[in-house]
Each structure stands twice: as C-alpha cells, then as structure tokens.
C-alpha cells in the first residue's frame, strides 16, 4: 500500500459497525449514470446511503460493515453497472488523470482540425448547383474520409456511453446525442457511396467538436476541484528515510511510519506525517512552507515542541523529525477526508436537477418521434433535418451541469484562500444568513497577549511608560512580558533587573528604581501616602502597575490580543448587511472591550456553552439565520446549533469537527469572502438553471418546426453548456465582490 492509498477515503467512525468510502467511478457524466450506480449499490445488503456526484465522478457509500457487505462487493457492483471504480487519491489516480486529459485533448484536437477541414470542402456543396458532378463526389469522399475517424475517435465517449445505456435499458444523456450522430452519419455515407444526395458530414464534425469541447471543459472543472485535495495527497512522498535507534538510515514507505519514529527530511521535500522537531534540533527551528494546507504563502517557522503538519515543505536546512501520527491520522488525511465528504455529497437542488434531466431525455425522444411523424405527413424531405435538430439542440448537459459546476468552482476558490468547505450545502445556507455570532477567546483573539489599555497615573506620557515597562520585561520569560515587546525602544535600557516571583519585576533606569507588577508590590517602593486617588476599585489586581519611588505612574490592562484582521473582517461583514454579535464565556470587561474595539454593539459575556446554544435557539426562533464562528475545540454542540458554522482549523482535531467550514490558516479575513462567494454561488446556480431551462424551452419548438438547421443546433446546445460552465468558472477566478 502506498502513502497515497493510505489516504484513501475509507473510514469507519465506530470500528467497523458503520463504514464509509469515497471513490471515483470512471464514465459518469449524466443523471442516468448516477441513478444506475445508486440502484446497483443499493441492491446490496446493509447499504445506508449512496451518493453520486456527476461532476466530480465521485461515489460515496455509507454501509453497515458487519452486515456482511465487503468493499469489494460494492466496487464490483459499480463495475457491473458499466463504470470503472478507481481509487481516489492514489498515484494510480494521478496517472489516470494525465491519461484522461491527454485523451480528451486528442479527441478535441482531432475534432477541431477535422471539423475545419470538412467544412472547407463541404461548403462547396451548399446551394451551388453548377458544381461538376465528379468534383462534388470528390468533396463527399473527402468529407467522409475526414469525419468518419472524427466520429469514431472523438465521438467514441458518446457512442459507447449510449451503448452502455441501451444495454442497461435506461435513458442517459448520451442516447439522444449518439442517436443524432449516427442518424446524420449513416445516410451521408450511403449517399456518398451512391454518389448523389445530401451529406451531413460537416454537421457531424461540428456537433462532435462542440460536444468534446463541452466534455473537455467539464473535465477541467472536475480535475481542478479534485486537484486541491489530490494535489495534497499526491504530493506526499511515498518513501521516507527512517533513522533507527542505532543511527542507521533505512528507506521505508511513508505509511510504515508510526508515532515516535525519527525520519529525515531533505531541503525542498514534503513532510509526510504530522511530526515535531527532534529534541536535538537547532534552536531556530524549521522554516516551512505550509501553503499546501493553509493556503498561506508566507513561510512559517516552527520550533521544538510545535506541531509540524504533514504536507508542509521544508524550506530550510535538512531536518530530523519525530512522527506524532501515522499518515492516515495526520492533518492532511483529515483535510482530504473532509474535502472528499464535501465533494461526494450533492445538495438537494442538484438532485432535483438530475432527476429532471432524466425525465427530460425521455421527453426528447418522444418529441423527436412526434416531429418525425408530423413532418412525414407534411413534407417528407424535412423529416431528417428536423429530427436531427431536435435531438441535437436539446442535449440536456447544461441542465445537469448547472449546479455542480457552480459549487465545484466556489469550493475551489475558497480552498485556495485556506477555507475548507466540509459540507457542500453549507454554501447554500451561508448565502442566506443574516446574523453572525462570534466567539471571542480563540476566535477573535489569538493566543498572543497585548497591552489593551493604558491608564496614566503620573506625569510620564503613554509611550514613555510603555517603553519603560518594555525595558523592564525585555528578558523576562513571564507570559505577560510578550505583551510589552512591541513597545520596546532601543535607547531605553534597564539595569540590575530582578524578578520577584508572583509579584513583579524591578530594575533601574537612569538611576531611578522602577517596579512593574502587582499594585501592592509597586506601591511598596514609594511611600504609601503617595497613592493617587485616580485608581478606582475596578482596576483590580488583573491590571499591571508601573511606578517608581515617587508613586504609581501607570496601569496597564494586559489581555489576549485581538487578531489583527478582526477589525477589518467585522467591518466587511457588516457592510454585507449582516448583524454581528459576540457571545463569549469571558469576563464582562474583556468582552466589552473587544466589542468596543471592533465596533460591535451586541456582546454577551460569561456565557456557558449551554447559554450560547440557548442564544442561538432564541435567535433562530426569532427568524434569524445564524452563522456561528468558534474555535472548534469545545463548542461543538454550539456550532451544530447554528445554521452554518465555522471553526478554526487546529491540527488533527479537525477531523472530528462538526463545523461546515474550517479556517485552516485561522484568518478571519476569509469570512467576508466566504459569505460573498456563497451569495454569488447561489446567484450563479439560479442563473444557470434558468439559462438551461430557458434555452431548451425556446429552442425545442423552433427545432421541431424545422427552423434550425443541424449545425446551428449543434452550436446552440454547445453554447448553452459552455455558458453554464463559464458562468460557474467566474466563481473560481473572480475577484472579491460583496
């Protein structure tokens, strides 16, 4: 088993009672295929749910493992239905993609070259009556020579798809398409052989050209949306060099690594598993590129004891690491599994569209037959072109592509900014929210501390007291010391610094003795009578005081630092018309202060998880749709109560996350982007559905009346699909918009 296969999206939450697997089934491209696979798998015992996504070609199955159904049986059932199951993230899948892409390009290339050339020759036959008979025959033969290989090579997917559908006695999207192709090609060959009559080689060539263009676009979208997950999985090294206890180095496959193993990572290599620096590593730690996981481009430094996520690239000197998890338990595997879950699921709106598409195919065939009969009575010469036009123009690809293409593109866009969508319908729900509830600790604030407020109690100005405090704390290891570091000035130096554990710190600046710490400790330096009345009761021991022998000079309120991007993110969310509020378990003061800095009016403090859940219930009962953002560690039930939830992506805990969205790089700036993208996705999905339905409703009557020639029909149907795909692609590439 390779490292990549260890990432295979099969897991069981309860040790074999329930099992879950996601794999790719080659050959899916329509609603009919989807239903057929679902039917085949559902026939097996103990199957709970089967979901098939026609765009990403993913099949996801939940089943009860102990009911005696083996994974092999499921794969077998899919295979018997006429599809080839392939592992998801294996090296084999990578090679398959390349092969698929090359083949699709060749098909498309042959069709475009052939179409151009066939058109060139065959236009000579259009409406020109004085063409030499032998010349006309030469053109027919040339057209046949060019278009026949185009039909059987470039058009092969449609012909074989239709054949598979017919053999399984169902109606897929390929049936009317292949029917139209053969219907145009056969009489043309017949007419060429008897050297007279109409030929439709140019229409066949053009139809195939547009069809393969559509297929190629569809394939690119599928590959791109998979690429985020699979680029990760595939970039993992299959082999690592393990360093054994006796110092010997041995190459082993990555999935043989177990927690505790030491392994070496050369410069520029990808780290296979979650790990830590070895204890004897250099003090300045490791320089890593984590962009694969977080989307964050800037290099990150990790010191001893800090988690190094598998999938990071070692930018610095060669490293010796200690594995903390196996491949399958590492962060990357969890991310891939979550992405798989999102991509295998399909939202309700897409399922409706799929069902509609399969009805649609039956309707088209009936309609084509009716057109044929009507024209037969009216004008037998028109039977052929009219039926052809109806079949071609109504190809329902646009309808079945409308929503999945949009969702795939939006998910891709968000994952590039470090925001992982773990449930596919999260975007739909996110588009409709009106209230944002933010947790404070760990969400609005990070682990770092900062000086949040300075109260001046003496003559020295704000920056002076900060510089003095910073000088005193410069070499201190106390957790609060870091809060003063940004205010340090090189010209202010403290001498003879002494630390009093639990009390504070003392040092000499410019000949004067200063103290920083508890109030009583600082006051002890001067005479007790010098205490200034400005200090109110509320400034309790939580504050840090600075003073010298003449009395107290300043009080600092030191607390958790707000994330630097929080202010901008909150403002952007409010500009999007959302009501932003804070619900925190922290103290009233801390919460009010954060709310003031962020300009948030509604803030509730001292809330237990139960209170938060109650608050969300209350908001939802009031008709609000709530987007809850928490740190994801201990607020799982709270997150689950919200309409949509978002959690900070912390290490390997993310696999258990109940959140719909995960902020992998923990930057709040992605939130407005997510809301904006979700809204645009919903808009694009609606546009796509309306466009696909409207096009068909408009085109079918015209085609049935014989007003659309076959080549125009080919153009129309391709443009409708292409329009849908391109409209969706806007989501993946467009700059941010409200």
């Amino acid at each position: 088993m390779s490292a990549a296969e260890a990432l295979h999206a099969r897991w069981s939450p309860d040790n074999g009672v329930h099992e879950h697997v996601v794999f790719v089934a080659d050959g899916i491209h329509c609603a009919g295929c989807v239903r057929n696979i679902e039917k085949a798998v559902n026939a097996l015992p103990g199957i709970d749910a089967v979901r098939v996504n026609s765009v990403t070609a993913r099949v996801s199955v939940d089943w009860q493992g102990r009911k005696g159904t083996e994974l092999a049986q499921i794969l077998d059932a899919v295979e018997r239905a006429g599809f080839r199951p392939t592992p998801l993230a294996g090296a084999a899948a990578g090679a398959d993609y390349r092969k698929e892409r090359r083949t699709a390009l060749k098909r498309f290339g042959l069709a475009s070259l052939g179409m151009m050339q066939a058109m060139m020759y065959l236009t000579a036959l259009y409406g020109v009556s004085d063409i030499d008979a032998s010349m006309a025959q030469l053109m027919r033969v040339a057209g046949m020579v060019i278009v026949t290989p185009v039909l059987f090579y470039s058009g092969a997917p449609f012909l074989s798809g239709a054949w598979r559908d017919l053999r399984n006695r169902r109606l897929g999207m390929d049936v009317p398409v292949a029917f139209a192709l053969v219907l145009a090609w056969l009489p043309s060959v017949f007419n060429t052989l008897r050297a007279s009559g109409e030929v439709y080689f140019d229409s066949v060539g053009m139809f195939i050209f547009f069809l393969s263009a559509g297929r190629f676009a569809e394939m690119s979208i599928r590959h791109r949306s998979l690429s985020s997950a699979e680029a990760m999985a595939r970039s993992l090294p299959a082999q690592v060099t393990r360093i054994d206890a006796d110092g010997s180095r041995r190459k082993i496959t990555a999935d043989e690594l177990v927690p505790g193993d030491r392994f070496s990572v050369p410069k520029g290599a990808v780290i296979a598993v979650d790990s830590q620096l070895a204890p004897d590593a250099p003090a300045d730690g490791a320089l890593l590129d984590e962009s694969l996981i977080t989307g964050e481009a800037a290099a990150a430094r990790r010191r001893a004891g800090e988690l190094i996520r598998g999938g990071s690239v070692n930018l610095g000197a060669p490293l010796v690491l200690v594995a903390t998890a196996g491949v399958a338990q590492s962060t990357l595997a969890s991310i891939v599994a979550l992405l798989e879950r999102a991509q295998a699921d399909r939202p309700a709106i897409a399922r409706v569209a799929d069902r509609a598409a399969s009805w649609f195919v039956s309707a088209i065939l009936v309609l084509a037959a009716a057109t044929a009969i009507a024209w037969y009575w009216f004008d037998p010469r028109m039977v052929f072109p009219a039926v052809l036009a109806v079949l071609v123009v109504t190809c329902p690809c646009a309808l079945s592509l409308a929503t999945p293409a949009a969702l795939a593109a939006a998910t891709l866009r968000l994952s590039r900014t470090g925001l992982l969508v773990t449930r596919v319908d999260a975007l739909e729900r996110l588009a409709r929210i009106d209230t944002v509830v933010l947790d404070k600790t760990g969400t609005l604030t990070s682990g770092a501390t900062a000086v949040n407020r300075v109260k001046l109690l003496g003559k020295p100005a704000r920056d002076v007291v900060l510089a003095i405090a910073a000088a005193l704390e410069r070499d201190s290891a106390h957790p609060l010391a870091a809060a003063f570091a940004p205010h340090e000035k090189t010209e202010v130096r403290a001498e003879a610094v002494r630390e009093f554990a639990g009390e504070g710190i003392e040092g000499h600046l410019a000949g004067q003795c200063w103290r920083l710490g508890r109030r009583s400790f600082v006051e002890a330096l001067g005479s007790a009578g010098n205490v200034l009345p400005l200090v109110r009761k509320s400034d309790r021991d939580s504050a840090v005081y600075l003073g010298n022998s003449t009395g107290l000079m300043a009080a600092f309120e030191v607390g958790a630092a707000l994330r630097p991007e929080a202010q901008g993110a909150v403002r952007a969310l409010r500009l999007q018309g959302l009501d932003v509020m804070i619900a925190s378990g922290d103290s009233e003061e801390a919460v009010q202060q954060a709310a003031r800095m962020l300009g948030i009016k509604r803030a509730r403090a001292r809330m237990s998880p139960t209170d938060k859940t109650a608050l969300l219930h209350e908001l939802r009962a009031g008709g609000h749709r709530v987007f809850m953002i928490g740190d994801g560690i201990n607020d799982g039930p709270v997150l689950a109560t919200a309409d949509v939830s978002c959690a900070m992506g912390h290490g390997s805990a993310i696999a258990q996350s109940a959140a719909d969205l995960l902020l992998l790089h923990e930057s709040l700036a992605s939130l407005p982007l997510a809301v904006g993208t979700a809204r645009r996705t919903l808009r694009v999905m609606r546009q796509n559905l309306i466009w696909a339905l409207g096009y068909n409703l408009a085109a079918v009557p015209l085609a049935a009346c014989g007003l659309i020639s076959p080549w125009l029909a080919a153009l129309g149907m391709s443009l409708s699909s292409l329009g849908v795909v391109l409209n969706a692609r806007r989501l993946a590439s467009a700059a941010r918009a409200p």
């Binding site: 892409r101 090359r102 042959l110 070259l113 020759y121 010349m135 030469l138 020579v145």
Partner: protein, 58 residues
C-alpha cells in the same frame, strides 16, 4: 480542373500531418502542465544558488 483534385489530396495530407503533429505533442507531455513553465521564472533564486555552489569547470 485536375489541379483541384491535387489540392484536395494535398489538403488531406496537410490535415493528416497536423493531426500527427498534435498527437505527438500531446503524447510527449507538452500540454500536461501549461502553468509550470510560466511559474518557473519565479523560482530563479533556487536555480541561481545551485551553479554557484558547484566548483567552476575548467
């Protein structure tokens, strides 16, 4: 008129040639990654280090 026959045949020949060229290009992997080459120019820092580290050839 016979020149037309020749031209049609010639056209077919050119078509066949270009299809062969396209298939050859695809099979030799020239279309596999259209972005890597463009991005390679940004990676020049690593490239410039390598020759410097090697001893100059005489």
């Amino acid at each position: 008129m016979s020149i037309s026959y020749l031209l049609v045949l010639l056209g077919l020949g050119v078509l066949g040639g270009s299809i062969w060229a396209l298939f050859w290009a695809i099979d030799s992997g020239q279309y596999d990654d259209l972005e890597a080459q463009g991005r390679a120019i940004l990676d020049s820092e690593d490239e410039s280090e390598k020759p410097a580290a090697q001893p100059p050839k005489k």
